[in-house]
Assembly symmetry: C2
Homo-oligomer: 384 residues x 2
């Protein structure tokens, strides 16, 4: 490892891509005739292939969960707080895999990828993939990597929903599911926020029905708005107060009487919106929000989550954060209750944290301790 | 009163307009050389002019608080639930006045009004008015109406902020201030939502720097987005769940795998957005959100609200609603605490209600009873 990178990081990592030629059937009824998944791995797969952990990323995440792509990379992967040597998801013990979701914009096949026969980007023709589709494609990747059974499938937010779906769709292929800051389905309010974000993108004059790649520019105003709105829901009211209060960007406290940036929170949001446009694709954002809205494993079981989970065999760790108002603790408890109804094994902890939904990405000692000790038991169980 | 209109309504009402030729100095340092205020009145002013109540409207409200403009009007004024004969704001006892805020788009001078000398709409040249400016203009209107002292100044949300400002700026001109679902200033999260709404409008390709009147069309996508977002914050999570759940608009429960309207909540929001565009002006929306952001009477008193309220003489009724997360009860309690610090007279009630911020507009029995009995005492006090 380079001496410029922190010692507790996995250090320099190189993404890998696997090309699948076996068609993938999708929940929408269509199929992808071929597709790529880009992924990263950290740590070593042990001889009996029992120590693999799959990380599932959330809405705007990617396969780059930990480490650095170069010594110059300014920021490490999105879950650097929890993934690395000696960290809760301990790469000295586990072989950790994280793939970019299908439909993404970081290397896995998605709307901005070139259609295999048409020779132009899929654009809005890319199918609306679901959490179930992601799990199905990740199972294909597991086959490629020779992983019959994951020691654990772990994810936060939308990633936690994928972990739950894994335990439903492939009960025999994971020992543990770790669901962090997740929900068994979106509330009307959650869907409402997603809908406003989508309308911001769809109504942007530069959206061009999703075929904006040809113009070589994004519906950037709409995508920035969607991201700004998302950020409000990721932070708690308290966290925003602590971070920004009503501080003026210029310290003189004088009102400008214009629509320029004035309060610090405005400056923060505009920056978040602008910088997101440079690294994300609007069609992918649309698709990810729709996968969130559609996630509802109980829907096919007469809206009875216990029934949907009747056959699962994984053991669960469910974690929530006290100030998360996007997927508050009550939503995690719905999952816990449904599991207990079916006499399943589940540990639950509600972490005191002021950071809101974003807490799942942060180095919060109690959170890291709970996650770390659960996974240390998993490590012992699989003999690493 | 027409027999087609409800008996407990003020019935048919006709807005009136007063043209002011005395320049109005504004907090931004500019002035309006002349301006119109449109207003409605309900009930009769008594001989000693002691029974007048001023209603202050919120962000998207208008002077049309109660009754009907015609027998065909589909919906009555915005506060029909509380204003009328025998209602909490009893027009059999009080003379009730409600004016459209300066900068509005319902008849008072605002961005869509014709500039007196330039002969074209003000557009983005209309000054950013503040809550203090509104109060100053309402005081001019009170002079015109011959009302030296209001029996009460009453408002919900942004209207409650105006009532608070009245008690600070003209302590001798009101006996009571009724502040409903208000806050002493916006939180960072409140400002953040306003900023996203403003950016939606400002980044709409049809905004044209606020000079869209010449094109004869609004930045309608941006304004609709702003309204959709607003609506999410007006309803509680529970109210949304009760109202929409995850109900599909088509009853078959089948997913469409498209970005068409699918969930009921999406349909509701899109309708709210679309219909708002027909009756509201984008420049006014920008200006109203900015007035909200700027409201902070403690700012000029070293951020000490008690100090800002040290000289007030009104008696206060402060009401909040349990499920309001836009201006939650804790924000009302900040006002109550500051008043009690200064040994002022204040009654406070937190109303149990599931409707969120919107509750202040609704016929909730306990709310109506508290408001009604407080104002009945005011009526006795002023001899009506």
């Amino acid at each position: 490892m380079s001496k410029t990178l922190p010692a507790d990081s996995v250090g320099l990592v190189t993404p890998q891509t696997h090309h699948f030629d076996t068609p993938l059937p999708l929940d929408c009824g269509r199929e992808l005739s071929s597709y790529d998944l880009v992924y990263e791995t950290y740590g070593e797969l042990n001889a009996d292939r029992s120590n693999a952990i799959l990380l599932c990323h959330a809405l705007s995440g990617s396969h780059h969960a930990a480490g650095y792509h170069s010594e110059d990379e300014r920021k490490p992967g999105w879950w650097e707080a929890c993934v690395g040597p000696g960290k809760p998801i301990d790469t000295n013990r586990f072989f950790v895999v994280c793939s970019n979701n299908l439909g993404g914009c970081h290397g896995s096949t998605g709307p901005s990828s070139i259609h295999p026969t048409r020779g132009e980007p899929y654009g809005s023709d890319f199918p609306l993939v679901t959490v179930g589709d992601w799990v199905r494609s990740q199972a294909q990747l597991a086959d490629v990597l020779g992983i019959e059974t994951w020691a654990a499938v772990v994810g936060g937010s939308l990633g936690g929903m994928q972990a739950l779906q894994w335990s439903i769709d492939y009960p025999e292929r994971l020992r543990h599911a770790v669901l962090i800051a997740a929900a068994p389905k979106l509330s009307a309010q959650n869907i409402a926020f997603n809908e406003v974000a989508r309308q911001a993108i769809l109504s942007d004059a530069q959206f061009h029905g999703g075929r904006y790649y040809e113009q070589n520019k994004q519906p950037e105003h709409g995508l920035a708005l969607a991201r700004m709105l998302g950020h409000i829901t990721y932070l708690s009211d308290d966290a925003m107060r602590a971070k920004f209060g009503r501080e003026m960007r210029k310290g003189d406290g004088k009102l400008k009487f214009s629509f320029d940036v004035e309060f610090e929170v405005e400056s923060y949001l505009r920056y978040q919106g602008r910088s997101f446009v440079d690294r994300f694709d609007a069609n992918t954002y649309l698709l990810m929000t729709k996968a969130l809205d559609y996630f509802d494993p109980a829907a096919t079981h007469d809206h009875d989550l216990s029934a949907a989970l009747a056959h699962v065999t994984a053991r669960y760790l469910v974690l929530s954060f006290s100030s998360d108002w996007r997927f508050p603790p009550s939503r995690s408890r719905e999952i816990v209750r449904a599991l207990l109804d079916g006499d399943k094994s589940v540990s639950y902890s509600e972490i005191e944290a002021s950071q809101g939904h974003d807490a799942f990405l942060m180095p919060i000692p109690h959170y890291q301790a709970v996650l770390g000790s659960y996974l240390a038991n998993v490590a012992r169980e699989v003999g690493v």
